[in-house]
Structures are given as structure tokens and as C-alpha cells.
């Protein structure tokens, strides 16, 4: 019988049914970091258990790591403590740890694909919701809680409920200056922040087919913001080419065999789905958020919606969102003043993101009253010195930092102050997300953040950088 990718991966990794009606599923790759895993090692210790398969778990440090000075001990004693606990636990249990000086450190969802740990047809889990990113490679990648991190450490398996699968076909061709980030914000705007509850999202269609792996990761990354437990894209030639030659990918004949196996996981052409949604990609504009959830988004040329046109609790929530954001109904979003510009995160902090911005910003300067920071997602994507990426950003007035999550959630020193407005390439515009309880976040693509930084206000990157003509 024809199957979709989710069904194939599930069948291959199924250990068996559990008493409560759930299923036990084998996890091929377990990624851990300092925020959600030290407690799991504590639980193991308290329960007298050991790590079942240390070779399938890999650790990095990303959330709390400073991006200005990464020498130990870190200036924040609590950050240092978390780092020390993870370091000790990984050493004790024989788990490979990509430390800052290892040359491979970075945000967990940037590091996995970069090294080639992330591969098609496998199951991946990590105590972090944006694990959905890895689905870009055609695998089932799930964010889990700390008790489940404990479960995976102890058993290499998870108790799971099967998901339904919704195929989202993005048809047509993106207009010049429209990016993967705009596609994902647009999808969430249409399907809602909880439209995906109970589903895995399969992204497909012409727009997705021509995307690079980095762009696919941006789309899958935000599946979780649409309520889906995971998102994936069927593996194809683009996937295999990306993986070829990566450090943790087999080489030579091993690679050829792997490609045959990987290709077999792609959804069969006549596979069935629990739901299918078709979205016209040609109609997508550069998209930005106006509110406090990623679904409260609009095209750059649109006006902020009026709560008066909504009903009931929705109306209250829209009103609250506008009050928090200090924005007015029916005003254009374009021209909204910004104080901070942040390019980074596991959504849009990859090498290609910085390359795309670098290609546009030469000769431009960040507006004098804007604080602009660029934070690479990993040591490796900051590495190509010969491209002079850092210098291009610095010349334009950006600070160029060391790798980490940084202002995506502000667990280190990189924070908004007071009610500053931040044009951000990250994934969450929740109240207080960027480190100030009154700080305001406007989500957008990296090129749109660059445009906002230069204009000092939310702007259309296509106009600022004349993208329509050049692409």
C-alpha cells in the first residue's frame, strides 16, 4: 500500500504498543543542550539509571552562551553552572559534546544538519520545540520535554501517539524578494497557531521543490509555531547533494547505498493524507508580524487589522496584542519605527542567510538610532573568513557576534531594554520573549530585518535594495 514518509519512518522505528494505547518508538538521533537536559541527568541519577546508547546522543551549548566573550568561566555564574553540569554529565556518560572550542559549537538545530548528523528517514528528538527544523531532510524530528529526554537517555525510545499528516502544497513561484521565512509566516497566518495540533506537516509543491536545504529548514523550523508537532519535506536530489561530503555522513560506496535507502523514504506518489491544503505561493508578499503570536502576521503592503471586525475573545486578544505592541488598528505596518535589528536564530541564522544579507547591504548603513546585531547560528557558519562576511556586516553598522541563540530568547546578555521594538529574524514574537517584559518583536526574514535596520523602520526590502530589478 502506498505510504507517506511519516508512515514509513514510523513503521521502521516502531518497537511496539504500550499499555495506555501509545506506542514505543525508537529514536535514531538524540540532541541535547544545556537548558533542558541537565535536569534529565539529575533524574537518571536519582532513579539509579544509566544512559542506554551514549553514541546516539550529541550535545551542544547554545541558549545561555554569551556571544561577546565565550571564555570560561562565563561572566554569568548560573550560565557557567549549567555549562559545567552539561559538560560533566556528557563526560561521565561518554556523550560527544560540541564545546565552544571544538570548532563545531552552535545552535543545536544548525549544528545537526551542518555536521550531517541529520539524515533522511531517521527519527530525531531534542528537548527543544524547534527540533522540527531537521524535518527538512525528510526525517521525523520532535521536540520533547525533559522527562522524555530522560526516557530517551535511558531507553533510546519514546512513548508516542501517532500523528495525522497534512500535506501543504505551496504552488507557483515566489516573487523576487520573497523568502522561505515569508512562506512559513504566511502558512501560519492562514492555518493559525494551533491549526496543526495533532498533525505532522508535509510541505510540498513547486515552491518547496526549488528551495535550498537552508530554506527548507526555515520552513520546517516554524512548523511548531503553527501547532504541528513536526514538519518534513521529502528527501530529493537537493537533500542528497547537501549531505554529500558532510563530516558525519558515510562516504564512497556507503554514501551511494545511503542515497538509495534515503530516497525510499519519500512519500509515494499515491500516498494518502488526513488533510491537504493548497497555498498559492505566487501571491505571498514579504510578511511581518503585527501582534504577539506568529499567526498575527500580514503582508508588508497591508494595514494592521482592526479588532472591531473580529468577535468575542478574538477581539479581546487582538486588542490586547495591539495595546502591547503599541500599534494602531488600520495603520500601515510599513514605517513602524524599530530600535533593534536582530539577524540570527535557528530559523534564519545560517550561512546562506548572512550571505544573502551581505550581498544586499554593501554600501548601506544602519540607521543611527538602531542597534543592529548579527549572530551566526554556529561557529562553522561564521567561519568563511575569506568571504569577509563579518566585515561586510561591521561596515554596515552591525555588531558581529559569536555563535549562539542570543536575542532569540535572551537567556544571555543580549536583550531588549524597556519597550524597544525589534525587527527579528527569529521565530517567536511572544510577549517578553526577547528579554524585556515590555519588549516588542516584529518577525520577518533576514533581508527584511536588514531593510528595517537601514531605514530605522519596518520597510519593504524589495524597495530598499531594489530586489525586484536584480533578481
Amino acid at each position: 500500500m502506498a505510504k507517506n514518509l511519516y508512515q514509513k519512518v514510523w513503521a521502521d522505528h516502531l518497537v511496539g504498543p504500550l499499555e495506555n494505547g501509545q506506542f514505543q518508538v525508537f529514536m535514531g538521533l538524540h540532541l541535547i543542550h544545556e537548558v533542558t537536559s541537565p535536569q534529565a541527568f539529575g533524574m537518571l541519577k536519582a532513579e539509579g539509571r544509566h544512559v542506554f546508547h551514549p553514541g546516539r546522543t550529541f550535545a551542544t551549548v547554545d541558549h545561555i552562551i554569551p556571544t561577546d566573550d565565550q571564555r570560561r568561566p562565563f561572566s554569568d555564574p548560573m550560565a557557567e553552572r549549567m555549562m559545567a553540569v552539561l559538560s560533566d554529565a556528557t563526560e561521565m556518560h561518554g556523550i560527544e559534546f560540541f564545546q565552544p572550542n571544538s570548532g563545531s559549537q552552535g545552535i543545536v538545530h544548525v549544528v545537526g544538519p551542518e555536521l550531517g548528523l541529520t539524515q533522511p528517514g531517521i527519527t530525531i528528538c531534542c528537548g527543544d520545540s524547534h527540533t522540527s527544523t531537521h524535518g527538512a531532510f525528510g526525517c521525523i524530528a520532535l521536540g520533547i520535554g525533559t522527562s522524555q529526554v530522560r526516557d530517551v537517555l535511558a531507553s533510546q525510545t519514546l512513548a508516542m501517539d501517532p500523528l495525522k499528516v497534512r500535506r501543504i502544497e505551496v504552488t507557483g513561484q515566489l516573487a523576487p524578494g520573497v523568502t522561505a521565512k515569508d512562506v512559513t509566516l504566511h502558512i501560519i497566518r492562514i492555518l493559525g497557531v494551533n491549526g496543526g495540533v495533532g498533525y505532522a506537516y508535509e510541505y510540498a509543491g513547486d515552491v518547496i521543490d526549488v528551495m535550498t536545504m537552508e530554506e527548507r529548514m526555515t520552513v520546517c523550523n516554524m512548523s511548531i509555531e503553527g501547532g504541528a508537532r513536526c514538519g518534513y519535506i521529502n528527501p530529493d536530489q537537493t537533500t542528497f547533494e547537501y549531505l554529500k561530503g558532510r563530516e558525519r555522513v558515510p562516504s564512497g560506496a556507503g554514501f551511494e547505498q545511503a542515497v538509495i535507502r534515503w530516497a525510499g523514504y519519500a512519500s509515494d506518489p499515491d500516498a494518502s493524507y488526513d488533510d491537504v491544503v493548497v497555498i498559492d505561493g505566487s501571491a505571498i508578499e514579504p510578511t511581518v508580524t503585527w501582534g504577539v503570536t506568529p499567526g498575527q502576521a500580514l503582508g508588508i503592503s497591508e494595514r494592521i487589522p482592526d479588532p472591531a471586525a473580529a468577535e468575542g475573545l478574538d477581539q479581546e486578544l487582538m486588542t490586547d496584542a495591539l495595546r502591547y505592541m503599541q500599534l494602531e488598528a488600520d495603520a500601515p505596518i510599513k514605517g513602524t519605527k524599530v530600535d533593534v535589528a536582530f539577524i540570527g536564530s535557528c530559523t534564519n541564522g545560517r550561512l546562506s542567510d548572512f550571505q544573502a544579507v551581505a550581498a544586499a547591504i554593501q554600501g548601506y548603513k544602519v540607521a543611527p538610532d538602531v542597534r543592529a546585531i548579527a549572530v551566526p547560528g554556529s561557529v562553522r557558519c561564521a567561519a568563511p573568513e575569506e568571504e569577509g562576511l563579518a566585515d561586510i556586516f561591521k561596515d554596515a553598522g552591525f555588531e558581529w557576534r559569536l555563535a549562539g541563540c542570543s536575542m532569540c530568547l535572551a537567556m544571555n546578555a543580549d536583550k531588549l531594554v524597556g519597550d524597544e521594538v525589534c525587527a527579528s529574524s527569529s521565530n517567536r514574537n511572544f510577549m517578553g520573549r526577547q528579554g524585556s517584559s515590555s519588549g516588542r518583536t516584529i518577525l520577518m526574514s533576514p533581508i527584511m530585518v536588514a531593510a528595517a535596520a537601514i531605514q530605522g523602520a519596518v520597510a519593504d526590502a524589495r524597495e530598499v535594495f531594489q530586489l525586484e530589478k536584480t533578481s
Binding site: 495506555n20 494505547g21 501509545q22 554569568d76 560527544e96 520533547i144 531507553s155 501547532g227 558515510p250 535572551a410
Partner: protein, 200 residues
Amino acid sequence: MNDLVKRSGRGIYVQGNDIDTDRIIPARFLKCVTFDELGPALFYDERFDTQDVSKGHILDAPAHQGASVMISDANFGCGSSREHAPQALQKFGFEVIIAESFAEIFQGNCTTLGMPCLVMDKAQRKALASLVGHHPDAEFLIDLQAQTLTFANERFSFTMKDSSREAFLTGRYDPLDELLVAHEAIQAVAARLHYSDQSG
């Protein structure tokens, strides 16, 4: 009478759709290596201003101190997978959460911690929220087997995710022992999958 299937306690209504885990526990409180100290940080930025002065949030209303049943609205617990959020709710004193719907990872985390997530429709929740406001001292009686809730002489019904309800009915909400029993089956699955060795 707080066994696994029957729960009781006083209630509180915390209004809002899409209450995300960043609001439940702001990121700066995630700097910890155990979950023990998280209770006081629950909803911190909604309850206190930047000088740590109370903003008069419902959670701090004297009438609702000691409440153990929280009622909220749609998509409760969305956002990050951080178990810090359910841990903070539990350490604060909550034992049951009622909402229109729950984010999936959050719901799973709550189950593992022994904290049932009850799904209740809008009309009933509205009635319940208003009753709780008028009777902060009254006790909820919750029966997970019958999926009924009694409060101030009124009866309400709810649903639960099947596997989660089953977990409470069988007392197996922490799955780890059962997962470990399958030791040989796990090895068999590992052996039949053609994973490459990825160690560096």
C-alpha cells in the same frame, strides 16, 4: 481524595487564548539545573512589574490562594517544549489544568508529571469561570473515569486525550519502566535500521 482518578481542589480562571510557555515561565528563569525553585516564577512578568511589585494578577488574589485547578482558554501551553512550564505550574500548586485545547508537547509533559489536562468546551468553561469567580472557596470534584466535574452543585463534562486518560486510569503516567521492559525489542529495532556510525 486525590488519587490518580479522582481529583479535588479549589479553582482559578486565568483568561487568555494562546498562553505560551514564555508567559508561563519567562526565559530568564530557565537558568537552573533542577526544577525545584520554579514555583514562584510562574507567570512572573504578568504578575509583577520590572521592580518586582505586584500588578494585582488573579494568581495573587487572596481569595484564590491555594487553588489547585486552573481554567484557561484555547491553545494553552503553546510555544517551547520546556518542561519548566508544567513544572512551574505544579510547583506553584496546580494539579489539574482545564482549557479549550492544549499544545501537544505541553499536554504530554503534564501527563508525565501526573497533572491531567482536561478539555472543556467554551460554553461550559465560561459558566465554570464565572462560578469560580463567585465561589473561590468551593471545591471541585473531578472524576477522570467518568470525565465529569462537579462544582457548586453544577455538573460539567470534559474530555481527555485517550492515551493520557488511560495513563491515569492505569496509573502508568510515567512510561519509563514500561519502555525499559522492551529492552530486547529495542535492540532488535536498532539492529534492523541501517544507521551509520556517526561518532567523530
